[in-house]
Amino acid sequence: MANYSTNEFRAGLKVMLDGEPCSILDNEFVKPGKGQAFNRVKLRNLNTGRVWERTFKSGESLEGADVMDRTMEYLYTDGEFWFFMEPDTFEQYQADAKAVGDAHLWLKEQEKCEVTLYNGSPLSVAPPNFVELEIVETDPGLKGDTAQGGSKPAKLSTGAVVKVPLFLSEGEIIRVDTRTGEYQGRASKS
């Protein structure tokens, strides 16, 4: 992999730091009027998700990480692995629970998601920002209660539990923001 100097560090660049693949979040050039210049860099460790803040002498370099973001179609899970397919090549990838993380709560078959590959294997999975999922379990809907502000838990087809308004019932399809886990509205019937 290529080496990148501090002045090439940009948000999104993938580099190796202390043997860990990282994504650069922010790069601040710090230089006193006279004297040594530094780069104060925020990075996300792609293995652990932890955010690192590391200071480098300006001009130092890091090795690039073989990390790529790919849009893939989610196929199915066998309980141990989650399977994804690259739509152009039909190449399939299996991701373990660590790579999938909380994303499994939002994975719907045939839905497109972002799979990050590290040395060719899935490192992390990001669901679409919004997904439409069916309510499979909730207290009975209260008709005519649309004006009231109350909410109740509802279990979705993927196992995720979200707070929904009281008037919704089992079998309905709702739209959820996967970044916050919040109910957005009833999905329009298609």
């Binding site: 002045n7 601040e28 050039f29 230089k31 006279k34 530094f38 590391r54 200071t55 480098f56």
Partner: protein, 317 residues
């Protein structure tokens, strides 16, 4: 093609108003506005400043350097008897880009014969209150700042103590360096953010190793470089000196910087003999300061990114 300016038209009007205010300030004090060449025959020896070089053109016998500050030319004017002078000049520094740096930027630089650095700090404070309104003003020696804020004496603490203090708070990996590197790191990463809560803060009398072009004197039994910096709400705005006038010592400092360049695998630079000759002819006792005009405009307009005060920043120029 994104052809539009980065700054708003209101910001450009604020820049024009600021320039006018500055010119009135100096006109009222009898300080002469001057202009000196942007393209210079020699580049600075300071290992931490890299000039941009112009290499081709029929008029060029040899490569010329875009000035990193108008300091040497202005000192030649002072030695020629100009009296107090100021300049609003473009300066260029290679590789310096970020939210507070643009490789091409504007300096306001001025020199005051008969002033020492304390006199000049007071004048900087007066100019800044004309531009920014009244602010609380503090004067704090470099030594007192480190002792008060970090419990470390920057003049006596060993390299290991400085490094340990930095590593206590910062992740710096395998960073290596001399005392000055650790002092610079502590200053920029730990102390500057603390200055953000203060109004206008002058830091003065630096370790002699960081004197740059300031004369060295004795304060409380230790040698200090009579240099100062001013921070406004934590933003470093200006760097000034009670100017070194001794040509022999100036030559030694240039040579020492070239030695450091060699040690770091950088090319050495020929010395600015015209400056050294001017010092030999006699530089009047004076203090001088360079102030980042774009940063001052950031404070005037209340923006946090230098690109927002430039008509066309580096990416758009």
């Amino acid at each position: 093609m994104d052809w539009k300016p980065a700054a708003t038209l209101d910001t450009l009007r604020a820049r024009a108003a600021l320039l006018q205010r500055i010119r009135e300030f100096f006109a009222g004090r009898g300080v002469l506005e001057v202009e000196t060449p942007l393209l210079c025959s020699t580049g600075v020896t300071d290992p931490s400043i890299e000039p941009l070089v112009v290499e081709r053109g029929e008029s060029l016998g040899a490569a010329r350097y875009l000035q990193t500050s108008p300091e040497y030319a202005m000192k030649r004017l002072l030695a020629a008897g100009s009296g107090p002078v100021f300049q609003v000049a473009r300066a260029f520094r290679d590789g310096e880009a970020g939210v507070r740096h643009n490789p091409e930027f504007t300096l306001l630089e001025w020199y005051r014969p008969g002033f020492d650095h304390h006199d000049l700090m007071r004048e900087v404070a007066q100019l800044l209150s004309v531009c920014l309104g009244e602010l609380p003003v503090e004067y704090c020696s470099y030594r007192a700042l480190f002792i008060d804020e970090l419990g470390l004496d920057p003049f006596t603490a060993g390299l290991q103590a400085l490094e340990a203090r930095a590593r206590e708070t910062l992740d710096v990996g395998a960073l290596k360096g001399d005392r000055d590197l650790w002092l610079d790191l502590l200053m920029s990463h730990l102390l500057e953010p603390r200055l953000a809560a203060r109004g206008m803060c002058f830091v003065y009398d630096y370790p002699p190793s960081q004197a740059a072009l300031a004369r060295i004197g004795q304060v409380d039994g230790v040698a200090v470089g009579h240099r100062f910096e001013v921070y406004v709400r934590g933003l470093e705005l200006a760097n000034g000196y009670w100017e070194l006038a001794d040509p022999a010592e100036q030559r030694q400092r240039f040579s020492a910087e070239n030695r450091r360049r060699r040690e770091h695998g950088m090319t050495e630079r020929p010395l600015d003999e015209a400056l050294l000759a001017a010092l030999s002819a006699g530089l009047p006792d004076c203090a001088g300061v360079a102030l980042g005009l774009d940063r001052l405009l950031m404070l005037v307009t209340g923006v946090g990114d230098i690109r927002e005060v430039l008509a066309f920043d580096w990416e758009r120029s």
